[in-house]
Amino acid sequence: MDSAVLALQAVRKSYAVGTPVETEVLHGIDLQLSKGEFVALIGPSGSGKSTLLNIMGLLDRPSSGKLLINGQDTSTMNESQLTQLRGKAIGFVFQTHLLLTAFTALENVMMPQLLQRGRPDEAMKTSAASLLEQVGLAQWQNNLVNNMSGGQQQRVAIARALALSPSLILADEPTGNLDTKSADAVFELMRKVNQDSGTTFLMVTHNVAMANKCDRVLNLVDGNIVTGTGR
């Protein structure tokens, strides 16, 4: 239990609560992610993958059940405590590389630290630059992100997710919008980061081949995890 980066205990999520169309999307999920794991989450559309990811990322709250991050119970935290924990413990990589188009690649990578500390400083810049170097974009750091290709933008997003050295990175179909070559490169990059830094990854994907290259595959069907509970 102690080594669990993230633990879900009987998590349920319902939408439109109290109305005739009330629907339960997640039916009591129990799940643990250990430190250094690279886990794939697969499942058909509408199975509740995004909802589960949002709950794990503290962007949404479960209707019932508990979510523990690094052993801390989040159910009693208020909005600003959640925001703080989200910033520190979790990094996000989204399907559509959600980058701030008003900023350069380097500045996007600096953003999580900047939000945390309030003012930019040299250390921030240096660490962001080295992260960009890690993802192979050293010479692109001063480009506005809109002037970069999809694969490059996704690599910027990965660098940004790593900025605060989070214990967990949640990736929502990070390769979904990329061609095969870029997709493989992005996946390999995440795998490498995972092995180098021991960061736990949870990646939602539709690509079975890619899922099979992960340490563990979780299959979510109709709000239940049906396979892959063991390593």
Binding site: L59, S80, M110
Partner: protein
Amino acid sequence: MNSFIPFEWIAAIRFLREGRLQTLFIISGVAIGVGVIVFMSALLSGLQQNLFYRIMSSQPHITLERPKQVVTSVRKAESGQQILTSVQKPPQRVSAVDQWQKVRDLMRLREDVLAVSPTVTGPAFVVKGSSNQAISLTGIDVEQYIKIVPLPDKMVSGTYRLTNNDIMIGTQLAEDMGMQLGDKLRVATAEGASRTLTIVGIFDFGNRSANQRTTFVLLSTAQNLLNLVGSVTSIDMTVKDPYQAENIAQSIASETGLNALSWIANNSQFFQGMNAQTMSSMLIRLFVGLSVAAGIASVLVVSVVQRQKDIGILRAMGGSRGQVMRVFLIQGAVVGLLGSMLGSFLGFLLLMAWRVAAKNPDGSMMFVITLDPKLFIYAALIATLTGLVAAVTPAVRAARLDPVVAIRG
């Protein structure tokens, strides 16, 4: 990114810069509003100053006269009695201020009084051949009176200098009587005194009746003619702050027991007109300001919707509600500030154009507009504040956005 600038400022400026056209439009909108306000304010205060100057420069700020002569009923009713009386008001004769030298010296000691000048004023006639004209004869102390009314500025011909046998008259009187500089005229009073005086100056007060009636002679000349040797009928004063004249007049009246008339009380209609003008311009400025605020608010509301994704990203990256809110508040303030700076410049240009365009037929300036730097500073401050206030609603909306919804957009 400069390390002295906090995140909120960086993001606010970047967002404004990215929304180029939108930012440009709203800043222009603010600029036009501020420009109109600056232009109107300067124009109005110039106009009012000009009118004030015209009125003030042809009359003393405060005039002290002896108290009104009143008649009181001597008989008092005893208990059980009623007395029906009809008291007729007495005519006010030309009469002297008691102990005027003392009063003058007392007034000179007051800190709020700049100049004190005793004058003698009374009715007289100008006689030339068979025609005569009623005038108001004012005897002045040449050196002191110049501090009350800048007569040299008003001279059309001749010079500001008087001896015992000299007189200065207005342009209208000169025309009516067919007289010019150097001519002699006879001044007579109802009491029968008369004297022949030389015209040494002709002035123009910009007012027909003043130009017709007002004449100036030496204090002693007037004293002789009006049979008031050694006395004066009023003490004229200039005060430091003309707008405080009424208060000062009241304080002097209670101090000396004399009748103190301020130029404000003498021109109450004029002041009412001024106030109405000020009020209406205030209203116009208020509504222009409100429309500027509404413009900023609406653009920022749209911008919050457009930035939904960015807001979601910031929140997912650990940005707090406060940070997101401040980003939008700052955008409002920056738009207000930039707009007001541009607007001040616009107002300045309008005023310059006005200076060139609005001229009297003779080519002189219709009136002088002074540019007070304070006006620009206030405009900038108020516009910035307006921007900030206008941004509150959009900023709160941005801060309340649910990050999940925001990201899905």
